[in-house]
Symmetry: C2
Subunit: 228 residues, 2 copies
DNA sequence: GCCATAATTAACCGAATGGTACAATGCAGT
DNA sequence: ACTGCATTGTACCATTCGGTTAATTATGGC
């Protein structure tokens, strides 16, 4: 889309956009650049810790443009948050568990969540920051109100099927189960710094992470199996 | 200690100290006041989000005193962090699992950790913030280098005993087990805001929390039992 | 009482920061 | 080429914030 811009070849840098020399109008690219770099900065430093200047400096634009497109720093933060959640939700849509037996589906879901969190540290850090702010900004954002019930629905189906097959215990709470999976996957990224400072880095090497992933799969599976 | 100060009765406010009227020297109380309020502020707003002025305003002292006692903002933050960890470690010392059979010991440990995290939200938030800062300040602090291996040792004993009794599976990793317990207990506090925004508040009511606690005890126990 | 020192106050400072006013420039339609 | 609007550049501003200087007051030892 926006193919009307004739791409000048001197696409100097890593930037996605192609506004060069004196200057060329390319608002969408500017907006996208700002959003991308703002995501990175807010993830790194939090809302209060981020300098608007730093965001502008990293791309070929001025502070002025940031305020032009996003109003103020908080507006930018909200936009970053919305985009981050949107992008994650999009990734989650990709996961297809249809047709899998309950146990396999659950294993796949846990592994997916664990890996996905690991690969998206920026998102985790944004969420950490938003929690420090008591979730006040995501609460303001209407696009985040449509509660992400898809995972819950998936888990409900899995639980029901598993219970019917007798491989899961009865009376499981899909919400609690999701909470449990989230907690283990999230903490792995969010608390790596302090945990490894105190207890060493063993769990965070590549092998450590594989073992940990197996461990939490094991843990979740054990918790849904019928009591012996 | 420091009983030399004659306590004047007009102890006006909530403050622990008793420096009144014009002014009376009571450095230890001032230091303690600063530390207490700084803990609260840093926990609420993070390092970058906290204003030194706000800390000073909440107690009967000036910004100048904060710099006098703690050098700079980061020095204060470090002091807060050290004290917070010290205090938590102290609380952990209270937990006595001696003489309990392995399963009971583990249940008690999990319940203790869950409750303890719940009761110390400020500490959790400090740790969250420190993780956003990649643990750089705790790494600077020598008092946090003495790795808190006590929990690991306890868990090792419990695991060994449980395995010997045949109530635990063989080859458990105490470190992974601790990680698991921490993750579930920590996430419960750290991510309450975002989680309840998206999935509702059910898990965070008093009943919800009790159920959740039972759930994670269950989860941990299931994960250590011999495979069926 | 005197004196060195520790604790506290008051005033001040430079730099950084979020944000804005306004002019200049590109662009699309006619 | 003209016009109207969107976009970008430049310069500026008020305030906030971390931190400091220097004077002032208490305290404890003699």
């Amino acid at each position: 889309m926006k193919s009307k811009l004739k791409k000048t070849m001197a696409d100097t840098a890593h930037q996605t956009q192609n506004r060069i020399r004196s200057w060329k109008q390319d608002p969408e690219a500017v907006r996208a650049d700002i959003l991308r770099e703002a995501t990175s900065e807010f993830a790194k430093n939090g809302l209060a810790g981020t300098r608007v200047k730093d965001i502008a400096d990293r791309i070929q634009t001025s502070r002025r443009m940031i305020f032009y497109y996003f109003g103020d720093k908080e507006g930018l933060y909200r936009a970053v948050l919305e985009e981050a959640y949107r992008s994650v939700r999009e990734a989650e849509e990709e996961l297809n568990l249809d047709g899998l037996p309950p146990l396999d589906a659950l294993v796949k879901l846990v592994e997916f969540t664990f890996d996905h969190h690991r690969r998206n540290e920026d998102f985790i850090r944004l969420v950490m920051n938003e929690n420090i702010l008591n979730g006040q900004y995501m609460r303001q954002s209407s696009s985040l109100h449509m509660t992400n019930t898809k995972v819950i629905k998936q888990l409900s189906r899995i639980c029901a099927a598993g219970e019917k097959d007798g491989v899961f215990r009865a009376g499981l709470s899909p919400l609690e189960l999701h909470w449990e999976i989230s907690a283990l996957s999230f903490f792995n990224v969010s608390n790596r710094a302090t945990f490894s400072n105190i207890f060493g880095n063993d769990l965070f090497t590549e092998e450590g992470q594989i073992a940990l992933r197996d461990h939490i799969v094991d843990c979740v599976i054990s918790s849904v199996r019928p009591k012996t």
